[in-house]
Symmetry: C2
Subunit: 300 residues, 2 copies
């Protein structure tokens, strides 16, 4: 099997690595030479004319920033796309954009699948969690691709166009609130009644048998066991658009999402004020799982 991969950044490279490792030939494109170089080292065959990808493969995975970049890539491919080609958008696109793209591409006989991709940089090793929306038959045709990229049992068909990105959007909303929830607790361990509690020890014991054990908790332990003061970390938390989209859709459909919304407000506050111990930990966690920048001072 052969697949095209457009976008060879952090996540694109992780996807490429899993595909190659699982015996799938990958033809890759990125505007950055550095990204191309790293991908080539991982076994990707680099192509310098993006439109040519459409001639060589019948499945194309997009791993580019949401919004205009996705439309631009589709436009640049459009005249070379062959009927029956499957385009999979593995990024964090707005589900409404995915519905529109699926509708437009269907008119020229091209299938569009929207795929939410969770797992961050660790996914490269253990595989990703994939939520896929769109035409069911196209989904089935692309099964080997999803199997190669996903963790064991880590992919599922969610429903019609947009559902994959919708479920991923909600996943991210939950993620925002989970990160903030843990961070508030660690802040209260560090800066509350006791000053002598070893916060890393608390994190560690919770990872074994407690109600709140989780992967985010494991990462918290890794961070805190290395540095529990976080003095040199900026408390300004970055974000992509998925959190705000979650809140917007929730309001539109009268679903209260108070914690998700509050975690978003706190991120905005953290960027204005520099944040606090809790937001420093959130920034570090985002860095740990997603490679998102974290600095001593200023914004991310």
């Amino acid at each position: 099997m052969k697949i095209g991969l457009i976008g060879l950044g952090r996540m694109g490279l992780a996807i490429a690595t899993r595909l190659v490792k699982n015996g799938i030939e990958v033809i890759g494109f990125d505007q950055s030479n550095d990204c191309c170089k790293a991908a080539a080292e991982a076994g990707v065959k680099i192509i310098h004319d993006v439109a040519k990808i459409a001639e060589q493969v019948r499945i194309i995975w997009l791993m580019v920033p949401e919004g205009k970049p996705v439309d631009d890539v589709i436009e640049s491919l459009q005249f070379q796309l062959q009927k029956g080609t499957i385009i999979i958008d593995g990024g964090n696109s707005l589900f409404r954009d995915s519905i529109r793209r699926a509708t437009d591409l269907a008119k020229i006989g091209v299938n569009f699948l929207d795929c939410g991709t969770s797992g961050g940089l660790h996914g490269k090793t253990i595989g990703f969690s994939l939520m896929i929306g769109g035409n069911k038959k196209a989904f089935e045709s692309a099964l080997p691709v999803f199997e190669a990229i996903a963790a064991p049992q880590g992919f599922a068909y969610m429903g019609p166009a947009g559902t994959g990105h919708y479920v991923k959007m909600v996943h991210n909303g939950i993620e925002y609130a989970l990160l903030q929830s843990y961070a508030e607790g660690f802040d209260l361990l560090k800066n509350g009644y006791y000053k002598e509690i070893n916060v890393a020890n608390a994190a560690k014991v919770w990872t074994h048998g407690s109600i709140i054990r989780s992967w985010i908790l494991n990462l918290s332990y890794e961070i805190l066991s290395h540095d529990q003061d976080l003095n040199d970390v900026s408390g300004a938390i970055g974000e992509n658009k998925t959190g705000q989209w979650t809140v917007d859709v929730a309001k539109e459909y009268n679903v209260p999402v108070d914690l998700i919304e509050k975690s978003l407000t706190i991120r905005a506050w953290s960027r204005q004020s520099g944040g606090n111990y809790a937001t420093k930990l959130v920034a570090m966690l985002r860095n740990k799982f997603g490679g998102h920048a974290v600095t001593k001072k200023g914004l991310l």
Copy 2:
């Protein structure tokens, strides 16, 4: 080794079962005959005069409701307690009460350890996560007890008197916010833009490789795969005092815990209003891990 166990309810029985299974002789007491009967079947030697426990063992584990019941039990034991005896409070006591009890008991040569016990009813099988505060030497003397009750690596010394219950209190505050965070997300999957998303499928795929994978998510999947409408479930969420204590201490020490506090407010609202889909799921999760009652109508 021989240990006394006062309080043989849901959690006490789980603790007893682990102790017996690990070769520790357990002398148990409870006011309820039914609880005594169940404990006897699990291999506990039942004693009907609580004060006599203090004559027969040097380590006594308390698993009774926080507040007056703990003081009452200690008072009823007091004159029989022998110097060097270790009393371990495994319940959800206020850390300030534990500091007071440790101080008072130290005056008569008795060691008091405060132990936060997390894991719910599943702990019976896989072991608990134990956070222990108090005299370090007493902690070391009781190691075989903690090893028997805990999950592998699931216990740790937290510091001076009260730290065990303090860390457990914070754990519970985090737990409140985590439950609400997931529940808001599932609500938005169920009642948002799409009506056809299989919520259980989303929960399932998230458990494999996603950023938000956790034990609470596993339980959510178990619940939702059995019933994703939750029509027959009351959305009124019960609570113990640990959530409010977390918020109170946070305010005292100027640590913002917005999400934890909001999750508490939502529980109060859920009891007034009957709640919504999200609070139904939280009520079911509490039932799943802690055996807390959940009913079709009315309060818990």
